[in-house]
Symmetry: C2
Subunit: 130 residues, 2 copies
């Protein structure tokens, strides 16, 4: 709790009750939640929190570098508390998004593109649990 407050302060975010609750839900999450999923989680502990605040806070956390916005599901943005580079596997049956360690895949010289300066990349896999 105090850790969370300090983490927000360190990133120049005023730690309000609503922001702490959104941060708690999103930063602890393993499963790349959408904003409305975070809202549903947050409502149980913070019953008057509004949709606007959840969207605002998630966008603020992303802007301040505590979360990454990702485009992995059709039509919605998901939020990812894991900041270090990694890949994603989307379960074709359940839709769940799983993290794949960066080092578990060897990729050749991808930055060596003649036409573009490659700033960053990731692999998106699709599959199902064995």
């Amino acid at each position: 709790m105090q850790d969370l407050i300090n983490m927000l302060r360190d990133h120049k975010i005023q730690p309000t009750a609503q922001r702490l609750e959104v941060a708690r839900c999103a930063l602890a999450s393993e499963d790349h939640p959408t904003a409305d999923e975070v809202l549903a989680m947050a409502l149980s502990r913070c019953p008057t929190i509004s949709r606007a605040t959840v969207y605002n806070t998630l966008n603020l956390l992303a802007e301040k570098g505590l979360l990454v916005r990702r485009t992995l599901r059709e039509g919605v943005t998901v939020f990812d508390p894991r900041l270090e580079a990694h890949h994603h596997l989307i379960d074709t049956e359940t839709g769940e998004i799983h993290d794949i360690p960066w080092d578990s895949v060897v990729v050749g010289d991808i930055a060596e593109h003649p036409e573009f300066e490659v700033l960053d990349y990731e692999i998106v896999l699709r599959g199902r649990r064995k």
Copy 2:
């Protein structure tokens, strides 16, 4: 033109004027258009075509294997007439999506995941024109 008609017939799609126009726009496109972008293109030659028809037709073409739906831009689905495996680079300045040939990147044994059966994957790069 006759080619397009035959292509639709081969895929059990009745070639109507509207479908031919949507197919012409989407299949010829190099730039991964959204449904509303296809609608805008189609309207110039087929001024009464409706949004519903464009969405229906794009989804039909995807279902029949003439197009691939892709999740590459936040909040919208784009349609890709290029059926063979390839990667994508998103220009961080313009948002344009560029195709990257499959063979231009060497990826190690990605199918060898202990927990999942990997059905398919692609690399999403971000960068900007040199």
